[in-house]
Amino acid sequence: MKLNPFKKNNNQIYYTENREEFIEKNKNFIYRCAFKVCKRKLSWENDDELSIALISFNKACDTYKEDKGNFFSYASLLIRNTLIDYFRTQRNTPYLIFDDEDNKKDFIDTKISLDSYEIERENTHRAEEIQLFSEDLYKYGVNFSSLIKLSPTHINTRNNLLNLANKCASNDTIMNYIISKKKLPINQIVLMTNSKRKYFDKWRKYLITLIVLIHSDNYPYIKSYLNIKVGDSNEN
């Protein structure tokens, strides 16, 4: 029986008093979420990632509302997004990748099953975000149909661009330039990274899309759908 701790029928004491107990019970869940993103064994004492995950879980308890759908998928969404943002602020930003194999490794008991109402809610949220996203991209001269032709087919290229976007998003001057002029400051980016100018001309629109997606806080559902994980830096 699935216990939704925040339904009015269940004890509302979870909401304020038994928060600590509730978090204790779900430590496993929190660990698994963080493990999936970081892809390495984590320890509660040493690793910052786990404390960040805890904080996000707490925040999810605070901000959860019925219309956000299933609580656990909402919590894992928050945890994932916060961790990705956290990586950006670290000095040695790890190499991020789009992970393709996530689905195969999940055991049955770790998958979050959603009922149709919850799926509906998620879809609605995503649709709202997509609307905002397409309006935002329009200001940069990008639309989804053009992205179909312009998104790189090889996953390594996409990983590369993901990391470039991450670097740009953490650099304030570049972001200011992008937001004010709606263009990429290609010279600055070429200086900052070791990539060639031709590379940017080719993937300009896709890179802009990624930067907008990563930097903004308005697209949590879309961002968490992308399987962004920590990868080996050897995969360059």
Partner: protein, 235 residues
């Protein structure tokens, strides 16, 4: 076609743009029931070539087909001509009266052909070449006056061979042109080829026999028979 899963970002008439969980924007085919924007959908990927590639492929295909059909039309035999000027030939012409195939029908013809390049020339020009070559050859019979050259043309086709006619007249010979049905001409050609083969076989046999004659006396009768056969074939 591969199937891909992702968030529906945009809907069109028969396709949708998905964003996959590996960050790829793809175009997929949509079936009923239609998905809504924001839902997660799986569909078959539509691969569309850019316009310039399509145009290039179409153009190269048409050129290829055109080229092949031109070659086919050029080398299709339409008229059959048999020439007898002591050296006999069977000539096949295409629509434009160019010689596409010429085959000798007797020994003299074979010898003559080996020294003349006649393919792809107009009929008149080709006949002229053959005629002049054979006229100036050492052992030809055309040098005798009032020799007749006979030409058979299939299916009542009127072909301009006036050049040839004039050059024949200059050498005091007559040219007769007959129009026959293509059936008759083909039969005539077959008949001539059979004769030619028989002649060749007889020649080979007689050579073998004359070699054997030195060894076994019992082959004498064969030698005589061969002699009579030879005479028949040379008619």
């Amino acid at each position: 076609m591969k199937t891909k899963t992702g968030i529906v970002m945009e809907l069109n008439k028969s396709s949708a743009c998905l964003l996959t969980n590996t960050g790829e924007f793809v175009k997929v085919r949509i079936n009923t029931p239609l998905p809504s924007i924001g839902s997660i959908y799986s569909g078959k990927v539509i691969n569309s070539l850019p316009l310039t590639k399509k145009a290039l492929i179409a153009a190269s295909l048409t050129i290829f087909i055109l080229f092949n059909s031109m070659i086919y039309a050029y080398s299709k035999p339409v008229t059959s001509v048999v020439v007898d000027m002591n050296a006999s030939f069977s000539i096949k012409l295409n629509h434009w009266n160019k010689i596409i195939k010429i085959s000798p029908l007797n020994q003299a013809g074979e010898e003559l052909l080996s020294s003349v390049a006649i393919k792809n020339k107009e009929l008149s020009e080709g006949l002229n070449l053959l005629f002049t070559k054979s006229y100036y050859k050492d052992n030809n019979h055309l040098n005798e006056d009032n020799c007749e050259i006979i030409i058979y043309i299939s299916d009542n086709k009127t072909i301009n061979i006036s050049n040839f006619e004039t050059s024949v007249k200059e050498k005091n010979m007559t040219l007769s042109v007959n129009y026959e049905s293509s059936e008759k001409i083909n039969n005539e050609i077959k008949h001539q080829i059979m004769n030619k083969k028989r002649n060749q076989n007889n020649q080979n046999n007689s050579e073998n026999n004359s070699y054997n004659n030195g060894k076994t006396p019992s082959n004498n009768s064969n030698g005589n028979d061969n002699g009579t056969k030879k005479r028949k074939g040379s008619e």
